[in-house]
Amino acid sequence: MKGDVALDIRGLSAGYDGELIIENIDLRVQEGDFLGIIGPNGGGKSTLLKAILGLIEPMKGDIRIYGDPPQKGRRYLGYVPQYTVFDRDFPITVQNVVMMGRRRMKGIRPWYSMSDKDAVKKALTDVGMWEHRRKHIGQLSGGQKQRVYIARALASQPKILLLDEPTASVDAKVEDSIYKLLTELNREMTIVLVTHDIGIISSHVSNVACMNRHIFKGDGKELTEEMLQESYQCPVDLIAHGLPHRVLPPHEKHD
């Protein structure tokens, strides 16, 4: 239902081995939002995702996914990791990769049911990869792989889609088609994506946040120079020029 709070993070601090990577994060995502979180590498984006997914324990603060803590609330999440980390030679077909998305529904039973298979078919059809289902995952192009991992997340019928650098190492054309797909999916679910590439925050997202240890969130999808300067800590002009999609408001003229 629109208007519900899908993701509610308050005062979150997290990190590894006692070292803080992110500090005092407050973030509230409404159902139906399409939030892009940008920030430099090492700025804590992955740590934030891991905390939301319940893979690391917060040191301070609280995370709620539709009111539930991560361990329980992650049943609402569909996670799309960076596809570049996988072993190309691993013997697995597209269909079996997407089937992993049904693990939670399958439980301890050794085999997948007909309804699992139907959900996989629908997810693969939605991303336009059904005809490639019997291919080895290593045979696919970067953009196709990304679609398969999105399908795997969709197979669990999530309410929130979480994506980690969805357009890393794909070309501009593929990037565009992935954003078109995400915009379509956004009609039915909330989307949160993180990226270090501020060029991707195109007309597709409805909200932008900047992140570098702390998080800075404006009202809409416009980035203020303040937000960028805080998170990137370099002159904004360096970032603003030469972007394929302009995210900054035009400079005020001082004539």
Partner: protein, 301 residues
């Protein structure tokens, strides 16, 4: 090479109980290494498997020492299964994983296993126990396999197959993408430890046939060969098993015919097969590209 006369001789061999035991042992080994070898290869656990198998040397030495001490029932296979399983549990133990680098732990277990084995071997009074050379422990003593060994091997194999079949989908998920498997409800740490124990059991099955050192070859080569041609984990397991059975049986026959150590012959055969399939695959891909090129050219006309 195998003419009519020799062939007849070979059929005579098959009547001999020790040859029959060799063949059964070879089959059981190939069945184990097809399934677990595939898991070892796709998880890049070859070094772990090497570490676990070398601790078996310590376990076998310990067994002979205990036999010398009067515990005649303490079979070397029992020593191997206890020590390798212990090493597997230690490698999977969460505090150890957190505190130490995995490859350091493996290295330590590896050398301690070897050192303990050779110390035990020296401490045994071989007048009380039938002499076994260190080489036969290291490189296999398939000739000395008895009916009890075969029963232990079959029992361990049954355990390995039941576990793998029941948890196949979870194993596939956790091996491919551990993080995603974890957030989807697979108990990954527990599963990883279980897989390490399965490696230990496989090492125990293989150790009589191939020896502590050559176990690694039987675990990795058939799986690595099949990996070149398959796109499914299940077919990789089946292919590795078939490859393992073929090279093990051929190796045993050749070793009898040529009077050479079976473990080494099997491993060399597997190595040759690996090289052949590498070149076979590149020929296959070149031909496929050529055929596809022709058909797309034909389609254009």
């Amino acid at each position: 090479m195998i003419d009519g006369h020799n062939m007849l001789e070979f059929i005579d061999y098959l009547q001999l109980p020790f040859v029959q035991r060799m063949i059964i042992a070879g089959l059981l080994s190939a069945l184990a290494c097809g399934v677990i070898g595939t898991i070892v290869v796709v998880r890049r656990n070859v070094f772990i498997a090497g570490g676990i198998s070398h601790t078996a040397f310590g376990g076998i030495g310990m067994a002979y020492y205990l036999q010398d001490m009067g515990y005649a029932w303490f079979d070397p296979m029992l020593g191997a299964v206890l020590v390798t399983t212990g090493a597997a549990l230690l490698l999977g133990f969460e505090p150890v994983r957190k505190r130490f680098r995995e490859d350091s732990t493996i290295g330590v277990l590896w050398v301690i296993g070897m050192a303990a084995g050779i110390l035990f071997h020296n401490m045994v009074n071989w007048n009380n126990v039938t002499y076994v050379s260190p080489e036969s422990i290291l490189f296999g003593d398939i000739l000395l396999i008895n009916a009890l060994h075969l029963r232990i091997m079959a029992a361990l194999l049954l355990l390995i197959y039941s576990f793998t079949l029941f948890f196949f989908k979870d194993i596939e998920a956790a091996c491919f993408d551990e993080e995603f498997a974890r957030i989807s409800g697979v108990r990954v740490s527990l599963l990883n430890t279980a897989l390490l124990v399965l490696i230990a059991l496989t090492v125990t099955i293989l150790v009589k046939v191939a020896g502590v050192v050559l176990v690694l070859a039987m675990l990795t080569i058939p799986a690595a060969i099949t990996n070149l041609f398959t796109k499914r984990l299940s077919t990789m397991m089946i292919g590795a098993t078939v490859t393992g059975i073929a090279s093990t049986l051929l190796g045993i026959i050749l070793s009898i015919e040529l009077d050479l150590p079976p473990g080494a012959v099997i491993v060399i055969l597997m190595g040759v097969l690996f090289l052949l399939s590498l070149s076979g695959r590149s020929v296959y891909y070149r031909m496929r590209t050529m055929l596809q090129g022709n058909s797309s050219a034909a389609a254009k006309e």
